[in-house]
């Protein structure tokens, strides 16, 4: 027989694993991401609500969660088991909106604290008028757990009436799954009309996967078909590999659900006896605990790698997105360099100015035109890169993340930033020219602005700007011209690089803000292997 022995190392490993799971994020909308998010939440809920508290306090009462489809008669079953109306039952669906936990008064302290189900607020006051609840569906009672104490339930056993697993209210569905995950004993309730439905079977398969202690109740079976239906159901269970699961049949009686009354004790006696036996017989209790706990621990072996895989997929997608951005900006940078070299800046307006220089155009005007042309070149490169990135991202499902769609107020601000950078370059260039002219210390020293314009032209004009270089050399000497040109060239390269780099960083900023790293994958696997070692 399996027994539950818990060493502190195991608990440590488990809390480490829990933290890793809690830290895992799947922000990119990849194909598997919603699934991974749901799995993560489910796993986290199971660790927080069940595994960690259970391993920490093995002596805590057994918690049996009653789950099933809408109208399966879960509340009626719980009421009948404790012999009192603790959970409202009714004909309108969904009936149970607030989960109800029933336990013996002595066990109350186990559940009143935040030991299990820490997300749920506890309420003790029973709701006076159930119709209030129906009239105010907006007041979300989903995140509330009502704790009831009854003397009729033996100590060491608690029952939890969960909402429907297939409720129309999706919050209820999530809550139901979370509650079921917190159970030592899963009580799956289905009915004669429902036993072949897909949804409960999905739940049963999950229970089988986790190898938890499971018991099924076939509820509301009309008398005349009891044998046939239960035979069919048994055959289905056997076929699904769940033949060993204890089955209980509860007949449909006039006083059952529709009136919200209690079933006679005889109808649920078998189930009650079984549950009480599990709670009170130490051996049976140990087995129940160990089975569910180890089942969940074992299920980590497949669930953690799945999470790690999803984390890796996230990272890979983020890498692809980053690579698209970097590739686009790099190729645009190359293009800009090529264009600068070929003198593309000295074209259009700037070229016309240069042709008119110096007779019909001042140095200042020429410099203005060049600066404008340079910022046009850079702006064009940046928008082209952005367009390329958009194109590449359109093919990536991960790029649909809402965080990535928020772009800073687009091209205008880029134009503004580039304009600033280019004007700063011009100012620095003029300063260089002034330095150079001052060094000349000649009576006939040329105007610094003229020098700056000539340097800019020779730098940006490619072949066409050669004349400017020659003219500059004539004015300030070949040596000075060369030095000035080199300095200005370095300055230009620096500024262009800085502009493109800044724009690339801006583009990558939302992606970086998502904080997707390769570490979670490794950490998840590492936490799992530590846990495996400690078992």
């Amino acid at each position: 027989m399996v027994t539950l022995d818990v060493r502190p190392q195991l608990l440590d490993a488990l809390s480490a694993l829990r933290d890793r799971v809690a830290a895992a994020r799947f922000p990119l909308p990849l194909a598997g991401a919603p699934r991974a998010r749901a799995n993560r939440d489910e796993l986290l809920a199971q660790l927080d609500d069940y595994l960690v508290p259970r391993l920490r306090d093995p002596e805590a009462p057994l918690l049996a969660v009653v789950g099933g489809s809408t109208g399966a008669g879960k509340s009626t079953l719980v009421n009948s088991l404790v012999g009192r109306r603790v959970s409202e039952a009714g004909v309108l669906r969904p009936t149970t909106r607030t989960p109800v936990l029933v336990c013996h008064p002595e066990d109350h302290h186990w559940f009143s604290g935040m030991r299990v189900l820490p997300d749920l607020t506890r309420v003790w006051v029973p709701q006076q008028d159930p119709t209030d609840d129906l009239l105010l569906p907006g007041e979300n009672p989903a995140r509330v757990l009502r704790v009831e104490t009854v003397e009729t339930l033996p100590p060491g056993l608690a029952l939890l009436d969960a909402p429907d697993i297939d409720s129309l209210v999706s919050d209820n569905r999530v809550l139901a799954a979370e509650l079921i995950c917190a159970a030592d004993i899963w009580v799956m309730v289905t009915t004669a009309a429902r036993y072949a439905d897909a949804v409960p079977w999905h739940m049963l398969r999950t229970a089988k996967e986790y190898d938890v202690t499971l018991v099924t109740v076939l509820d509301r079976v009309p008398h005349q078909v009891v044998n046939e239906v239960s035979r069919q159901y048994a055959a289905l269970l056997t076929k699904a590999g769940l033949g060993h699961v204890p089955r209980f049949t509860v007949p449909e009686l006039p006083e059952s659900a529709w009136g919200g009354g209690l079933l006679p004790a005889s109808a649920v006696a078998q189930l009650r006896t079984w549950l009480v036996h599990q709670a009170q017989d130490p051996a049976a209790r140990q087995e129940v605990l160990a089975r569910t706990a180890y089942g969940v621990l074992d299920s980590l072996k497949s669930r953690m790698p799945a999470l790690a895989g999803a984390a890796a997929a996230q990272y890979a997608a983020a890498l692809r997105l980053t690579a698209a951005v970097e590739g686009a900006y790099d190729s645009e940078h190359t293009r800009v360099r090529g264009r600068l070299q070929s003198g593309a800046v000295l074209a259009g307006d700037a070229l016309k100015r240069w042709r008119a220089f110096p007779l019909d155009c001042t140095a200042g005007e020429l410099l203005d035109a060049l600066v404008e042309s340079l910022s046009a070149l850079l702006l064009c490169a940046v928008t082209a890169a952005d367009e390329r990135v958009d194109d590449a991202w359109r093919r990536e499902p991960a790029a649909a993340a809402p965080e990535l769609a928020v772009r800073d107020s687009a091209a205008d601000s880029a134009e503004h930033r580039i304009g600033l950078a280019v004007r700063r370059w011009r100012r620095e260039l003029e300063e260089y020219a002034e330095d150079e002219v001052r060094e000349l210390d000649r009576a006939l020293a040329p105007d610094p602005e003229l020098v700056a314009a000539l340097v800019a032209t020779s730098l940006l004009g490619g072949r066409r700007g050669r004349m400017a270089g020659e003219s500059l050399a004539e004015r300030i000497g070949a040596h000075g011209a060369l030095r000035l040109r080199d300095r200005a060239g370095r300055l230009l390269t620096e500024h262009v690089e800085r502009v493109l780099h800044a724009e690339r960083e801006r583009r990558l900023a939302p992606l970086d803000a998502l904080d997707i790293h390769p570490e979670p994958q490794a950490e998840l696997i590492a936490a799992l292997s530590v846990l495996q070692k400690e078992r």
Partner: protein, 630 residues
């Protein structure tokens, strides 16, 4: 008997035998036709429809089943339902005559016809712009609409759908008045759809649903009831929520083909998420061709039935389904018990009226068109006014003008003209001084470069940016595929645009050589010359007096000289003032020429294709408007 078995695939040859047997058995429902005539015709029709069933429904069922076995290993009860008495107890309907009776095809009214026509146009127009997956839904609606139109318009095909154990088959039997579809406690019970036709001529309709002849039935002829429901073809569907996947596939396929649906819910399952989320919400547009009946009210005590019915109405309302209350069109919601027969009469009456109206097929197709249109909404609809604004066009022209340097060229031309004018009208002394100055000045780049033709004179980056901006402007607010098309059109147009602008700026640029001169120019030059002559004259006169050749007369020559000295600069100054206007005009003219040439080039290459693309979109949008019916 309801399940399709593996035997059926392999033993088609058995069918005529089955039919023979059925005829000779002469079971309860076989009463409307003679046994002997049925025998003969069934042979032929059985063979005919056998072919049909060979490709269609059986193949599908078989596929579905293999899939299902892979996906679900939990054992499907459906497969083990006793199928041994397959189709023997009841005669098959609509197979008694080899030539079906003359069928009046369905006629759609004008509105629906035009909407379908618009949808067809829309699909045709958008095929090159949208991927086929987007258009598949609309294509399917068109196919189904035309397929349904060819078939009988006197019949209304109504499917009974619902969850397992809601009592679909029970209701089916209650309406037919005879046990046609097996009911039972096993879940799920019905595995394959069964058809029941209240009048002749519906064979092709049922065939379209892929229901084999052996699953076609006739109701119990009760005279009154039969005439009430004349024209009804009732289909009993399998469940949609059991673990048996192929049932769901059957349901989904047939729900897409029938004219109306009766949703059967029961007090236990009426709030199931799968029913509401998977079926009712997406079918909200079909509210007018839907019935929702709450079955098994006999299981509810007293007023609980009313309560549940109200709750059901509330849920349907939340699903967005219009309820047919107070005479408004919408879903009819009824409570009944198929077991006790309570409320079945009401449903029969409602159905009878519904069928007699014969409007269901058209309404269904119309709702299908609505849904297809709603699905296509994101690829056609815009949130704001689209199109290329005048402002965007002007901005584009401005950017192109910048790219060819129109402003700078104009200014340069203006200044050159002014310079020339000043030089021409200036005093000779000033000219002399300038000439002297120029000699000392080192030459700049202007002299050699004037002569060579510029390569790539147009700023490539500005052209690129201009095209991108105008494409962005034009495609702003358009749905993604159309925006893409606009951008592509702009990009195609922009190829070769810089080269064209290069060539054009050479052609339309400032003509080299001397700029034209205004008419007063010779006068100015002449008077400037005469001023110089006056100076000389006065000087010579004075010189003559000094030398003593001439009589001493100081006043006149000094006056002449003063006039010459003062008048020269005066004329120069006034000429400069006068030249400013023409120079400005000349510069502006040069700029305008270049700008217009560039704008024209851009319009022809970029704006026109973009506008054409926008026009195409507007056309499609109009068609879409017609489809929506607004």
């Amino acid at each position: 008997m309801t399940a399709v078995t593996d035997q059926d695939h392999t033993e088609h040859a058995d069918q005529p035998d089955d039919a023979d047997q059925a005829g000779s058995d002469g079971s309860s429902a076989e009463s409307s036709a003679g046994a002997s005539s049925a025998e003969a015709s069934q042979d032929t029709s059985g063979g005919r429809s056998q072919e049909h069933s060979d490709h269609d429904p059986h193949a599908r069922v078989r596929d579905g089943r293999t899939d299902a076995t892979d996906a679900w290993d939990d054992g499907l009860i459906a497969r083990r339902v006793n199928e041994t008495t397959e189709g023997n107890r009841f005669p098959t309907a609509d197979s008694r005559s080899a030539t079906p009776p003359a069928v009046t095809p369905l006629v759609y009214d004008g509105v629906l016809r035009s909407r379908l026509e618009a949808l067809r146009e829309l699909v045709g127009l958008s095929r090159t712009r949208l991927d086929s997956r987007t258009l598949a839904g609309a294509g399917r609606v068109l196919d189904e609409a035309s397929a349904r139109r060819r078939l009988s318009g006197q019949h209304t095909v109504v499917a009974i759908a619902g969850a397992t154990g809601s009592g679909k088959s029970q209701l089916f039997n209650a309406l037919a008045g005879v046990t046609i579809s097996e009911t039972g406690v096993r879940r799920p019970t019905t595995a394959a759809p069964i058809a029941c036709s209240w009048s002749d001529g519906a064979a092709s309709l049922i065939e379209r649903l892929g229901i084999p002849p052996r699953l076609r039935r006739r109701p119990l002829p009760t005279g009154d009831a039969e005439s009430q429901l004349r024209g009804l073809v009732l289909i009993d569907l399998p469940d949609h929520d059991s673990a048996a996947v192929q049932h769901r596939e059957h349901v989904d396929r047939i729900l897409g083909l029938v004219d109306a649906v009766i949703w059967v819910v029961d007090p236990e399952k009426y709030a199931d998420a799968v029913l509401h989320e998977r079926y009712l919400r997406p079918m909200a547009a079909h509210a007018e061709v839907m019935f929702v009946v709450l079955n098994q009210i006999d299981r509810l005590p007293g007023e609980a039935a009313e309560q549940v019915l109200d709750d059901l109405r509330r849920l349907l309302d939340e699903d967005g389904i219009a309820l047919g209350e107070y005479g408004e069109p919408g879903t009819t919601v009824l409570a009944l018990s198929a077991l006790t027969g309570d409320g079945v009469g009401e449903l029969r009456e409602a159905l009878g009226q519904f069928v007699a109206e014969r409007g269901a097929p058209a309404r269904r197709i119309s709702a299908d068109v609505d849904i297809a249109a709603a699905r296509l909404w994101p690829v056609y609809a815009t949130r704001r006014r689209t199109g290329l604004s005048e402002q965007a066009r002007e901005e584009f022209a401005d950017r192109l003008a910048d790219a060819v340097g129109a402003t700078a060229a104009g200014e340069a031309a203006e200044r050159a003209w002014l310079r020339n004018a000043n030089r021409a009208c200036g005093t000779p002394w000033l000219r002399l001084w300038r000439w002297y100055q120029d000699r000392g000045e080192p030459a700049t780049g202007r002299l050699p470069s004037r002569t060579q033709a510029d390569e790539e004179a147009t700023a490539r980056q500005r052209v690129e940016q201009a095209v991108r901006t105008v494409a962005d402007r034009a495609s702003a607010g358009l749905p993604a595929p159309w925006a893409q098309a606009v951008r592509e059109a702009a990009a195609r147009g922009s190829q070769g645009l810089p080269e064209a602008l290069d060539e054009l700026s050479v052609r339309a640029g400032v003509p080299t050589g001397r700029p034209p001169r205004p008419g007063w120019w010779p006068v100015a030059v002449l008077s400037q010359a005469s001023m110089t002559i006056l100076q000389f004259l006065g000087g010579l006169w004075l010189l003559g007096q000094i030398v003593g050749v001439m009589a001493p007369n100081l006043g006149v020559p000094v006056l002449l000289m003063v006039i010459g000295i003062v008048g020269g600069p005066l004329i120069e100054w006034s000429c400069r003032l006068a030249a400013r206007g023409p120079a400005r005009r000349y510069g502006l003219e040069a700029e305008r020429r270049l700008r217009e040439a560039a704008a024209g080039c851009g319009r022809a290459r970029v704006l026109d294709p973009v506008a054409a693309e926008l026009l195409r979109y507007r056309e499609v949008r109009e068609q879409y408007g017609r489809v929506v019916g607004a």
